[in-house]
Symmetry: C3
Subunit: 272 residues, 3 copies
């Protein structure tokens, strides 16, 4: 699967605008370039609309809760021009400021895709729950025991927000209103580098930007790519007797050389 | 030594809030993750108190002299909640703005640990001397000839500020009011990457956050870890025929796989 | 050639102040350190003049169109003190804001060196043309068919701006009013990492800072160094079966161990 999705990514070389946090901005730019896209991290409110109008997608990342005015301007512009908007509600539930900010964004912008960890998504879906720092709460953790419940929540939230919902974790979920993909790839070491989540969101931006007419499958492909490349990178890191930074390098390396065949060979995906 | 310190780090997985500069923020987040902690780089003044209240430690880094208001809010909150605050007075003495900023911070916040290079610490201790850029002045350089004098200065400053004082350089000093550790580890190549100092401070945050009741030993352990991993990384880099970026990767790699045994095997520490 | 240029770089260890974007700031600091310089990324308007006065060069990078006031203050100070100023007009032509910003900067500051891709430079030279994102337009691409025309434009712009003009692309041009170097080094993979351009500009800052009396040759050396190290890094990456991040690491690695002999062995340079 995903042959067409990957082919479009290479053909269209989507320009992806990211208004994102300064912690992982370099990783996000590099992973977009690695997968075949072209990033622009323009975030000044006086130019984001003009830049957004040339892009194939827009990625908004709440990581440092800044540039909110620019996000709204760019998001509205993209909505008007039918350009996909992907949001990463980093730390949703960790502070009142973040909750308010997400509400403000969602009141003004329609999101094509929402990607977060289980605690962040739960908070959006239920208005309850909290996160500490940027990781999901331990008690929220996705396991084989609750995965179908989680997928159900994703579908419901998809209906409510009219967005594709992506939940990252030990098991990943990619869902629209009727179909959910459950993807069992990736490796725990991914949570030991900063930016795994942000990079996933950036990839979603590139994949959806190049596949505007098939964003559910494009989102599943992006999530699968991240998971499979994470597994391959972890194996290569082990052989190299490296640690977390070697892992990060190999992860983006694999994204830069991946093909749909490579992903399909390792993918573990279930449709419900 | 340090067995308990390392065990606490793994057990407690301390959440470390960093209000830091945008130059090395990614390295700082990654080294905190590598050593077993969990970083949050939240720095918006409207949320830092709320986030700080959930953390095990707070790291303040003056690198780009920004977010000072947020630093004061977060620092005061941590002081009230008895959460350790670690400060890195980057470039102290390099501009009037930095001198003023440090004074402003130190008037409002009690620091558990102050870490800087010899020029920065000297400036704090004496109100005199200057730095150019972010490196220590050549004439201040720590050598075997002045190391006991430097350690004495650290003790005196510790008394004055009621803080543990860490001085980084060719020889490192970790001191409270009565005891100073002199640590002869590390490698000159550490000064050929950006962020060596900032990463040391981030490590101090994680180690102290997990070892609130024994911060002097925790600080010595963090400094020793950085030094020993620096030596190991330099050796591995040489074998790989790499350069400064390979070195940086291996440095954080080693932090991600280190054990107290590994550090103890290579540590060169003197107590005075 | 370039023996004296490289010797000066090592001898003088130039302090380079960068007021730059947050996307590639870490890469820029690291490449300056790698080549033998010392970076300071101070960008607060209340200290940039004081810091600039201690520096050997100033690098201004318009990547995220921020800190313009600080850029003007630092630039004017450097002009007064005869310290070289290097400008990277990132995304020139991509938005009205960027065009205005460059005009504002160039009205207030004399640049020793202007470095951009062909679309950015064309826009400055002609006031026409546009860029999408941060890459040069396909139709502007430098080839063997238009390279002498491009070099001519560089010379003309050099006369107009009284600056050395550096145009980066598949073929690079380094020109003053009378002499243009055409450099055929580098590798296409350099455009698949973020920061290739910004790092080139940072290198120019270090090379010119250490060679104030011979900035044309220093600029050619910096561009050749980037190109040759890019080729070497690509070859090493291929052997390691890596991807774009391995490439980036090896690129800066080579900058950290390069010598004039290494560069001269691989350089492909033409003078017109």
């Amino acid at each position: 699967m995903f042959e067409k999705i990957f082919a479009n990514l290479i053909d269209k070389k989507p320009l992806v605008q990211c208004i994102t946090n300064f912690v992982t901005v370099n990783d996000c730019a590099n992973i977009i370039l690695a997968c075949g896209g072209s990033p622009t991290m323009a975030h000044h409110k006086d130019e984001v609309e003009e830049i957004a109008a040339c892009c194939q997608s827009l990625v908004l990342n709440m990581g440092t809760v800044s540039d909110i005015e620019a996000m709204i301007l760019a998001g509205k512009k993209c909505n008007k021009l039918n350009i996909p908007v992907v949001i990463d509600p980093v730390g949703m539930g960790a502070s009142e400021l973040r909750n308010k900010t997400f509400n403000e964004l969602s009141k003004n912008i329609h999101f094509s895709v929402i990607r977060g960890n289980i605690s962040e998504i739960k908070r959006i879906a239920t208005g309850k729950g909290s996160t500490t720092g940027v990781d999901a709460n331990e008690m929220d953790k996705i396991t084989e025991n609750n995965i179908y419940e989680v997928a159900h929540m994703a579908k419901e939230l998809s209906k409510k927000m009219d967005s594709i919902v992506v939940i990252s974790g030990p098991i990943d979920v990619v869902s629209d209103k009727t179909t959910a993909y459950i993807i069992r790839n990736g490796h725990p070491i991914m949570s030991r580098i900063t930016g795994s989540g942000c990079m996933s969101t950036a990839l979603l931006g590139a994949f959806c930007g190049a596949n505007k007419d098939n964003m559910l499958e494009a989102s599943a492909a992006a999530v699968a790519a991240m998971g499979v490349c994470g597994e391959l990178a972890q194996k290569k890191m082990k052989i190299a007797e490296g640690g977390t930074m070697t892992f990060r390098m190999f992860l983006i390396d694999y994204i830069s050389i991946m093909t749909s065949e490579m992903i399909n060979k390792e993918i573990n995906i279930e449709t419900i």
